[in-house]
Subunit: 217 residues, 2 copies
């Protein structure tokens, strides 16, 4: 059965990075939050095309590998796709080049003018929708063909799905840093540990991997 | 050499409990934050006088045992001592009964009318001071006789010492719960991992023990 998954990065104090504009879309604090993730062999290969076998192979890599497995469709917000950074470019096709690392239909939630689908190399198709989280999720589930649906972000979009109770699996990778600024990762999740089973594991890098798995499915 | 130590309890989202008044001084969220700590053999013996050997003996107990070792003086705020809950009781001697579990001089920071020292059974003496964090710390260090000084809380007092850069060892026990309310544990600590070496360990209970150890001493 399709599960709805979210993966987030957080600091010890529960913050994630705020985007810094078109030249720095993830913001200055994104680097420290994702250092261990980017260092994994899986990410070096899957995201950066480095097939040399370089990269870490420990706990962080196990979570990175799981991240890429079993996803049949993705949902993201307009800001993550870049529509807020490049609102006047009707040809904008995201940050990820000609062959984005998704390889599946990607639903972009946007309240701006509708855009036609954009088919990229490698199986990614961007589809733009102006609808509720429930409606876009129903469409993504159908497109996923029995595989899982990831809500990719940004944090506002992730929180909208979490608030609506639509998320089966939440993975938060907590980097061993204190940011003291940025978006709050955990807002509106009081008692989430009662509806979802919690596991916690510390990687060699000091990254704390917290997973929440919904119990009633 | 004397080190200045703080131990805090936090939720995954970086909150600690807000006191609920004289009848419930630690507040409703204190229980979930301290479940694993209270379950340890060390706390059952040291705080509750249970010498039967009951209680957990794993990672949580190791941190609980360390908590009680090597402290020569303690500092706390007026609220933690109870002066805000019982402002009109000149005979108030704290929440801990006739024999408090400190066993050392305890400096209570208060801006209200001065009180005489209160000597309790078991070596605890409460001493009331209206001065800066630096001045009370100097006095506590002298009283500690080479042992460490703990800043016991509450969170406002702890944060005052952290902001002033006076803390050598910070231990945060993060319970696997999401509170979404309460005082913020981590405020004003951006970059703390750069001045203090970080270690992270997960206990059997799911509690994440994060320690910061100052590098320059």
């Amino acid at each position: 059965m399709t599960r709805v998954r979210i993966d987030l990065f957080s600091s010890l104090d529960g913050h994630t990075s705020v985007g810094g504009g078109p030249e720095n879309p993830m913001g200055d604090d994104w680097g420290p939050l994702t250092t261990a993730y980017v260092a994994t062999r899986t990410v070096k290969e899957r995201v950066f095309g480095d097939t040399s076998g370089a990269g870490t192979t420990g706990v962080d890599d196990a979570y990175a590998a799981a991240f890429f497995q079993g996803i049949g469709a993705e949902i993201m917000g307009a800001a993550m796709f870049g529509l807020h950074s490049f609102p006047d470019d009707p040809e904008w096709k995201g940050w990820w080049g000609d062959e984005p690392p998704f390889g599946v239909p990607v639903y972009v939630l946007t309240s701006t003018a509708p855009r036609p689908d954009v088919a990229m190399q490698g199986g990614t198709t961007f589809r733009f929708r102006d609808c509720s989280v429930e409606d876009v999720l129903a469409e993504a589930v159908a497109a996923a063909g029995g595989l899982d649906v990831r809500v990719g972000g940004g944090i506002g979009t992730a929180r909208a799905f979490l608030r609506a109770g639509l998320v089966d699996d939440l993975h938060v990778a907590i980097a061993p840093v204190v940011l003291d600024r940025g978006h709050r990762v955990w807002e509106d999740l009081r008692g989430f540990e009662h509806t979802h089973r919690t596991t916690i594991e510390v990687a060699e890098s000091g990254t704390i991997h917290v997973t929440f798995t919904r119990q009633d499915r």
